[in-house]
Amino acid sequence: MQAVKNLQSVQMRPRKPAFRRAWLSWIGIVSVIALWQIVVWLRVYPEFIIPPPISVVERFWEALADGTLWLHTSTTVSQMLAGLLFGVVSAVILGTLIGKSRALEALLSPLIVAVQSTPVVAYAPLLVIWFGSGPTSKIVTSALIVFFPMLLNTMIGIRSVPVMMHDLMRSLHATRWQTFRMVEVPYALPVLLGGLKVSATLAVIGAVVGEFVMADAGLGRLINQARFSFDTPLVLVAVITLAAIARFMYGMISVLERRLLFWQRRQ
């Protein structure tokens, strides 16, 4: 009996703060909604500028029921995922090469910095002209916006391997591929996953920016459509959906992080 009791107390202790954190974040969300409702009551702005939460909820159900929300959300999500995939894969490949070659870094870094410091909204319209108004231009925008933080993180990650580790692997006659797979990739993983967290939320922005310029479907297009038909609640529905997608992606990668970086938590 005593042993069972001890076991329980040991298990409960680490769970408590996690519970409290979950509660606190819900309290945060609820207070923002409450504040929103207060702003509506105080009539700081007319209702067509800040509609009450309840009308947004109603609009949400309506858009869900008539399939509009699903159509646009699935478009944005698939474009975002494709962009994320292309952006991350190409950035990791190039980042690994640059991470291993100072010469390649010297060659490419001015170019990379120049493109990275250009805001995506500046070149998104060009991408739509070059790649058409279909999904391709959104995937490219998304991939581009994801590419740079991912590239940087890959470089940093690959270079975070201690020199001693390279000596060890060389003294053990490891092949380049073995060193890459067994040492460099795992060492780079924490930084890489950190980059992926940022990238996943950026990918949403990339897809939506493209949709804002021109699109057949997607949440960016839905926002524009709602704005031009003065449907402010629908604008907010789309915005909140975007936030939820970004939060979901962030959460998924956090789970992945906990799975892959189990060895970090023990420290």
């Binding site: 060890l168 003294s171 053990l172 006659h173 067994m182 189990f262 060895w263 420290q267």
Partner: protein, 252 residues
């Protein structure tokens, strides 16, 4: 199994960042007999670690060279195993998997290499096959590193300040365990250390290197009979040799 190590006219210069050459080591000459335990001591910057890295095949000499049983060393040899001051364990691998790493790299099947690693654990004084490095103390981590060396069944052990990062007590216990294992296997051992007491306690010979560029300034035979015990540290012979080594380093 063991091997003879010979350094002949060995010289190492580095190209410094500013383009000037840095003469780090040599010319140096010595021979280590098969099964001999030799320590290298000397002031900081005497090129001791460079010397170890040349023997390991990680650094190419500028002039002269190192011969392993009369075969010149040009690349890491499978007969040689290297142990560093830091354990350098892979944090995402268990104790067993870290020890088994050299076998895995050599393409040994999972079952066999795990069995080999598990068989080593009692000799290493480890009983935590599934623990991760982050859960280990410094001494335990270094024991795992030692296991990773022993599993290679090397003819030559290169130890670069293997206990340098440990506290005095752990250090003493680990060096005792090392010497017991060595007395059993009798590999050729080259050890770099800062600790004169440790050098005298473990070695057959102590070679003292000068300041940069490191050169041999003393070659002292330790004639204390084996097996040695901690009490030997209080003998006159021990004290005399330690004093000899110390004065050689001070002259360096």
């Amino acid at each position: 199994m063991s091997a003879e190590i010979a350094a002949r006219n060995l010289t190492v210069s580095y190209q410094a960042v500013d383009g000037r050459g840095l003469h780090a080591l040599g010319p140096i000459n010595f021979t280590i007999q098969p099964g001999e335990f030799v320590s290298f001591v000397g002031p900081s910057g005497s090129g001791k670690s460079t010397l170890i890295r040349v023997v390991a095949g990680l650094v190419n000499p500028t002039e002269g060279g190192v011969w392993l049983d009369e075969t010149p060393v040009t690349a890491p040899s499978p007969r040689v195993a290297l142990m560093f001051q830091e354990a350098n364990l892979l944090p995402w691998r268990t104790v067993t998997d870290n020890i088994a790493l050299p076998l895995e790299l050599a393409g040994v099947a999972k079952k066999e290499r795990t069995a080999a690693a598990l068989a080593l654990l009692p000799r290493l004084g480890l009983d935590c096959p599934t623990s991760y490095p982050a859960e280990l103390s410094g001494g335990m981590a270094q024991r795992v590193a030692l296991g990773r060396v022993l599993i290679q069944k090397p003819d030559v052990l290169l130890l670069d300040e293997p206990f340098g990062a440990l506290d005095a007590l752990t250090r003493e216990r680990l060096s005792q365990d090392l010497i017991h294992m060595w007395e059993h296997d009798r590999q050729t051992v080259m050890m770099v250390t800062h600790d004169i007491h440790e050098a005298v306690m473990l070695s057959d010979r102590i070679i003292v290197l000068s300041r940069r560029p490191g050169q041999v300034i003393a070659d002292i035979r330790v004639s204390i009979p084996r097996p040695r015990a901690q009490e030997d540290a209080y003998s006159t012979a021990f004290g005399d040799i330690a004093l000899l080594v110390r004065s050689a380093i001070e002259r360096a």
